[in-house]
């Protein structure tokens, strides 16, 4: 469980990157963290990982404050940054060193993940790997740590086409009821069937935090003719007419979610979005 209570974060005296953010994330789910460039996605992940400290407010990850960096916190959270810097040591040396920090690290799983990504077992020096290979290596390592919290910043960037499918397979299989996964991404089409909840940041604020099941109960994603319905939240031209997002009046009749359109609808009608998805009370 991750709890943010009124968290504000700014670098020095600049404008806040995140302003009065309150979010609750629950285990057993894969959250997709979406937001425009500069919306604060990476900062939010670093705050959760204890790499940045909130300027104001409180963060709790499984009851612990990330900024304290207690061993019990660090051994139970894995953060995969967007840019991966691996040291100039061998594969074997890295694994032997790093696994010591993760008591639930599983060798068998690690080898299975490497195989799934078709990483050659003859990897020598880590600094000689390509970007894609580095990603595959660190994703495999991160999943094998079996931490209860897994934060991944743009994990599919740099992965080749077959690896993206493998990524979805292994992350789906790795989601256990007590595990919480957060994936930040701009590549929504890579992940739209993998995530089951969405956290949307806009303008330094939380705009939406909802399970996708709830999104499809409250919003419809449809194609409409030339005349747009009056209650439309968002419309864009498409070959078959307008691709629209509107309120769903019959929760039992749900349409498939288009994450790109959800994102565009949210940032073009932020107030209506907040009314439709009020922040949870605690």
């Amino acid at each position: 469980m991750i709890n943010l209570d009124n968290v504000t974060f700014r670098y020095g005296r600049k404008q806040p990157v995140l302003q009065e953010l309150s979010i609750q994330l629950k285990p057993g789910h894969i959250y997709g963290l979406l937001g425009s460039n500069g919306a604060g996605k990476s900062s939010l992940m670093r705050l959760m990982a204890g790499l940045l400290y909130p300027t104001d407010g409180h963060i709790r990850v499984n009851g612990r404050e990330p900024r304290r960096r207690e061993p019990a916190f660090l051994e139970d959270l894995f953060f995969l940054p967007e840019d991966i810097d691996l040291p100039a040591i061998t594969f074997a040396r890295y694994v032997a060193t790093m696994r010591a920090f993760y008591p639930r690290f599983n060798d068998e799983q690690f080898r299975a993940y490497l195989r799934a990504f078709q990483l050659p077992s003859t990897i020598g020096w880590l600094d000689e790997l390509s970007l894609g290979q580095r990603k595959k290596f660190i994703i495999s390592f991160g999943l094998a740590t079996n931490t209860s919290v897994l934060l991944m910043d743009e994990p599919t960037n740099g992965l080749d086409i077959p690896s993206k499918a493998q990524f979805r397979k292994v992350v789906s299989a790795a989601l256990l009821p007590d595990r919480l996964v957060v994936i930040s991404t701009h590549q929504v089409r890579d992940l739209d069937a993998l995530i089951d909840a969405v956290v949307l940041l806009n303008d330094h604020e939380l705009l939406l935090n909802a399970p996708l099941e709830q999104v499809s109960q409250r919003l419809r994603f449809e194609i409409s003719g030339r005349d747009l319905p009056a209650d439309v939240l968002y419309a864009e031209p498409s070959l078959r007419g307008h691709a629209i997002v509107r309120e769903n009046v019959d929760a039992a009749d749900d349409t498939p979610i288009d994450l790109e359109r959800l994102f565009n609808a949210a940032i073009s009608s932020p107030q209506r979005m907040k009314t439709l998805f009020p922040a949870q009370k605690r």
């Binding site: 789910h29 979805r168 397979k169 789906s172 989601l175 069937a193 089951d196 099941e213 349409t255 498939p256």
Partner: protein
């Protein structure tokens, strides 16, 4: 895995399960793959796969044995056909009617084609 944008993903997964049942890949009374295995092989969130299983359980197509997993019901193929039939009549046919109205195609036109079609397929 490619999903279309016509139906929610959990219903597309439910369709996939139904197809396996109709094709007798997953025969009645036999255990079918777990939510976790199916979710992973279809590259979807396991909670979405669970939702598909819940839905099929409500329809009487699957049943759950505590601690053992999910099984296709004894009359699962009949249930699947009944569900498909209802969907064709309630959802797909009205779409056909809309297109017919738009293009001025009559039931008589359809009947001629349908007769020719059934004769061709029974002769084959």
């Amino acid at each position: 895995m490619e999903f279309n944008d016509k139906q929610p993903i959990y219903l597309q997964i439910a369709d996939y399960v139904c197809e396996q049942i109709l094709q007798q890949a997953w025969p009645p009374g036999e255990r079918i793959p777990s939510v976790r295995d199916l979710g992973s092989s279809l590259e979807v969130n396991p909670n979405t796969a669970m939702r598909a299983f819940d839905y099929l359980q409500q329809q009487g197509i699957l049943f759950n044995k505590r601690g053992m997993g999910y099984y296709a019901a004894d009359d699962a193929p009949d249930q699947v056909r009944a569900m498909r039939r209802a969907r064709f009549l309630d959802v797909e046919l009205p779409d056909v009617f809309r297109t017919m109205t738009l293009l001025g195609i009559t039931i008589a036109d359809i009947e001629t084609r349908f007769t020719a079609f059934t004769q061709a397929t029974s002769a084959a």
